[in-house]
């Protein structure tokens, strides 16, 4: 008989090894999946993981890694703070959209004036937009005890409608020949979030993501607030006993995650995306949830997980175009990653025992 037995201490080794094992397991079972689809499994895996980094066109794909990774990391860092404390913001996608709309709105309001003050104002506006959108579930939770999971998730759909309305109405490009979508911020110098080094993919969003990683790391390991977050997640009653104010923690965690998601949206709309369009959002806010867990809710882990996730996105696109793999297969592949991670995570706190039942 096989049984799970709780470890007396969480295993540190397993906690570190889990993501690696999960990636290996995903490669193996993903390979089986690709084989079942009639593709060469090793080639498919190589296309996904190797091609973007070291392949023939890696000069193009490597910057993409930054561009796709930065918003994921930025959002996931914010989410991880809440997740650690048991506060579940599922609506980062909505906060991302609102950040983009606020940021772009402020930028477009100044059009065609030029000035160095415009981009910083847009950054503030983007952060504010995401923060405000996250404060709705936060305040409702604090005042009326509503479930932040549901409220934040539903606000995603409200934000999407808002986005559609903006790109068809208020923010529509007056010189756009009636096409939906705003002016292209890439062509508006004061508002353009350009690469800091030409062609590197390093825009301000990447810098913000790095700062967020460091900020979260220091907060969690050195600051009272980070300690309060961790205790609340581990043992809510002990946290209350130690003097943590749950209301303030909810406001802080949801507020911060909204703020970072808003920033991500703002950097995206003013940089790689360039304009507000109906289909501006591509699911970063949801994928960031996977990234947060894949990174074990640890800032450094999230950084690596964000890059890995970006890699599977880019590699997945290449596999689609070069090998003709269906998009759904790539999604299953990404889903497997989260599945194996969560499954293997069990062994951090439990171990397998073979043999007869016995209670110590």
């Amino acid at each position: 008989m096989i049984r799970l037995e709780k470890r007396p201490q969480p295993s540190r080794a397993f906690s570190l090894a889990t993501p690696v094992l999960a990636v290996i397991a995903t490669m193996f079972f993903g390979g089986l999946l690709f084989m079942a689809l009639g593709k060469e499994p090793l080639l498919a895996i190589k296309t996904i993981f190797w091609e973007p980094l070291f392949g023939e066109f890696s000069f193009f794909y490597r910057p993409q890694l930054m561009i796709k990774g930065a918003p994921l990391v930025l959002i996931a860092i914010g989410l991880s703070l809440g997740f650690k404390a048991g506060i579940w913001n599922i609506g980062a996608e909505g906060q991302y959209i609102m950040g983009a709309l606020f940021g772009a709105g402020v930028g477009l309001a100044f059009y065609p004036a030029e000035g160095h003050y415009i981009f910083p104002l847009m950054v503030l506006a983007g952060a504010f937009g995401g923060w405000v959108w996250a404060m709705i579930p936060a305040l409702l939770k604090v005042k009326f005890g509503t479930n932040e999971i549901l409220v934040s998730l539903m606000l995603v759909y409200v934000a999407e409608q808002f986005l559609a309305s903006m790109s068809l109405g208020l923010l529509k490009n007056p010189e756009g020949f009636g096409f939906p979508g705003s002016r292209n911020l890439q062509q508006y110098e004061s508002a353009f979030n350009a690469d800091l080094i030409e062609g590197s993919g390093m825009h301000w969003g990447v810098v913000a993501a790095m700062i967020a990683v460091i900020f979260a790391y220091v907060l969690l390991s050195k600051h009272r607030l980070g300690f309060a977050i961790r205790v609340t997640g581990e043992a809510p009653r002990a946290a209350k006993f130690s003097g943590v104010n749950p209301t303030r923690l909810v406001l802080f965690c949801l507020g911060t995650s909204g703020l970072l998601a808003g920033l991500a949206g703002m950097f995206e709309v003013s940089g790689p995306a360039g304009q507000v369009t109906i289909d501006f959002n591509v699911g970063y806010g949801f994928t960031a949830i996977i990234v947060a867990f894949l990174g074990r809710l640890h800032p450094i882990g999230i950084l690596l997980a964000g890059l890995l996730m970006a890699l599977t996105y880019i590699g997945g696109d290449i596999a689609q175009s070069q090998l003709g793999l269906p998009a759904a297969a790539i999604q299953v592949f990404q889903g497997m990653l989260l599945f194996f991670l969560l499954a293997l995570d069990m062994f951090t706190n439990y171990r397998l025992r073979f043999g007869r039942t016995e209670v110590a």
Binding site: K222, F227, V231, E234, R237, F241, S242
Partner: protein, 506 residues
């Protein structure tokens, strides 16, 4: 014991990695015998009864029941052979009725109506008043225990194992339980009774086996042996009774005036009009059956539950609206009953758990930045001063045994030099010598001028350390009386009498 013994254990040995839990343990129990199993925490009592109950398989040795080999492979087999066990911690569902709870534990439960009738029959026969249709969440701890006992009795056991059954009972409830047990014994049911309350064992048990560090260190007839001798056999050394110097209490530190707070959770107990004063250097002992407002009183004092201004004053200041952090800064410290999850975060290290309540008073943080080196130092100091057995401060709280974690949790507060210390069940599940040292440290605090509120269900403990005694009943606090000279009957009346059929549920 001339007949074939009901249960005969010989040479039972069970080793776990690093520790021999039972080493060549032999004992025998005759039908109808009430046999006490005595020993400190970690002496191997639990392992021994788990082997009898089929939860653990012995490495060596044999068990015989009525002369036939007895090797239960699982609790079900043990129950089928006539072994019943009442655990110290109840496994009941609050939201279900008594009958539903009992039905859940049965192999093939009869129809609810028939089962209710059986429950009534057993409860009448053995004098255990209990209505089968009551919801368990509304029951007192004593009544919950009755559910567990009746659950066992329905299977007509030949041997009933009881693990620390009186820790949650009022003296009157203990009397009811003892009557039941004596009746069972008269009918030929043997009882294996685990306890560390020696006076009870002297009153109830026919014989006793004493374990220390996994070995049998002696058998005795409790009625003919003094409690002190038994305790010394258990501990293996002379017991230090906590000592206190005579003293006169100082000025009032804590003043509760008509403190009324409603409980935040559904099965909690609101506090109703509690008024009391505690002076510097004084120990106020608060007794009462579990679930009568103990947790709520601690929460109201620690700052986890806020109250209307004017109800709680500390050194003259209104503190009802202050949370735990400002109260700690003022010198009000507390240690709740539930060690894992309330007083300590189970998965966090002892260093982190030291930080949990000592950040401000021990200067472990400045300007929000935490000083982990200092926290580790403080954790090490607690471990050393209170003799906490653990490899080091980086171990998780949950890896400690209950008694050791308790020493850590109490030590953490005691070492922060409180002006007022509120503790709930300070020695719950702690072995005799550790309990004595915890009590001594509380008395030392009082000696140095700390005001103490000690909430406990262990009356012996309260009588030993309290200056004044009061009891919580249904969220009300009785008038405090000097602890010296209180009789058990008086205490029982203060606690609200036996929680039986006639208890008023407001």
């Amino acid at each position: 014991m001339t007949d074939t013994p009901l249960l005969d254990l010989s040479g039972l040995t069970k080793a776990y990695p690093g520790v021999i839990a039972n080493d060549d343990v032999s004992l025998s129990i005759a039908p109808g015998e009430v046999h006490a199993l005595l020993g400190e925490n970690g002496a191997g009592k639990s392992t021994l009864v788990k082997m009898i109950y089929g939860l653990v398989k012995p490495d060596a040795g044999t068990m015989h029941m009525f002369g036939a080999p007895f090797t239960p492979s699982e609790p079900r087999a043990a129950r089928a052979s006539g072994v019943g066990m009442v655990f110290q911690h109840f496994s009941l569902f609050d939201a279900l009725s008594v009958a539903e709870n009992i039905a859940l534990g049965m192999e093939d439960a009869p129809k609810m109506g028939a089962l209710s009738q059986q429950i009534r029959d057993v409860s009448d026969t053995y004098g255990l008043p209990l209505a089968p249709d009551r919801v368990v969440g509304d029951l007192s701890a004593g009544e919950r225990q009755r559910v567990e006992i009746i659950r066992c009795l329905l299977q007509q056991p030949k041997l009933l194992i009881m693990d620390e059954p009186t820790s949650v009972l009022t003296p009157q409830e203990v009397e009811i339980l003892f009557k039941t047990l004596r009746k069972l014994s008269a009918e030929g049911t043997a009882i294996l009774y685990i306890s560390h309350k020696l006076e009870e064992i002297r009153a109830l048990c026919d014989s006793a086996t004493i374990l220390r560090l996994g070995k049998v260190v002696g058998h005795c007839t409790p009625a003919e042996t003094s409690a002190r001798d038994m305790a010394e056999m258990m501990v293996g050394k002379l017991l230090q009774t906590p000592t206190r110097a005579g003293k006169s209490p100082g000025e009032v530190v804590l003043e509760l005036a008509n403190l009324s707070v409603s409980s935040p959770n559904a099965f909690g107990m609101p506090l109703r009009g509690i008024s009391v004063e505690v002076r510097r250097g004084e120990v106020l002992g608060i007794g009462g059956v579990a679930g009568n407002g103990q947790d709520e009183l601690l929460a109201a004092l620690s700052g986890e539950m806020l109250s209307t201004p004017g109800m709680i004053r500390f050194e003259g200041q209104n503190i009802g609206l202050l949370g735990p952090t400002p109260r700690r800064a003022m010198g009000i410290l507390s240690a709740p009953e539930e060690r894992l999850g309330h007083a300590a975060a189970p998965d966090m290290s002892l260093t982190e758990n030291a930080m949990l309540t000592a950040a401000a008073r021990e200067g472990l943080e400045s300007g929000g930045i935490l000083n982990w080196g200092k926290a580790r130092g403080f954790a090490e100091k607690i471990i050393e001063t209170f003799d906490v057995r653990t490899p080091g401060p980086s171990n998780a709280a949950r890896s400690l045994s209950g008694g050791n974690l308790q020493k850590f949790v109490i030590g953490r507060e005691v070492l922060q030099r409180p002006d007022l210390l509120v503790v709930n069940q300070p020695t719950w599940g702690v072995d005799a010598s550790a309990a004595a040292s915890i009590r001594q440290s509380l008395l030392d605090l009082a000696q140095n001028g700390t005001a103490l509120v000690v909430i406990s269900q262990d009356l012996d403990e309260l009588m030993e350390i309290s200056d004044r005694f009061a009891a919580l009943n249904e969220g009300r606090l009785s008038e405090p009386r000097p602890a010296q000279g209180l009789t058990v009957e008086e205490i029982g009346l203060m606690m609200g009498g036996a929680h039986g059929m006639e208890v008023a549920h407001v």
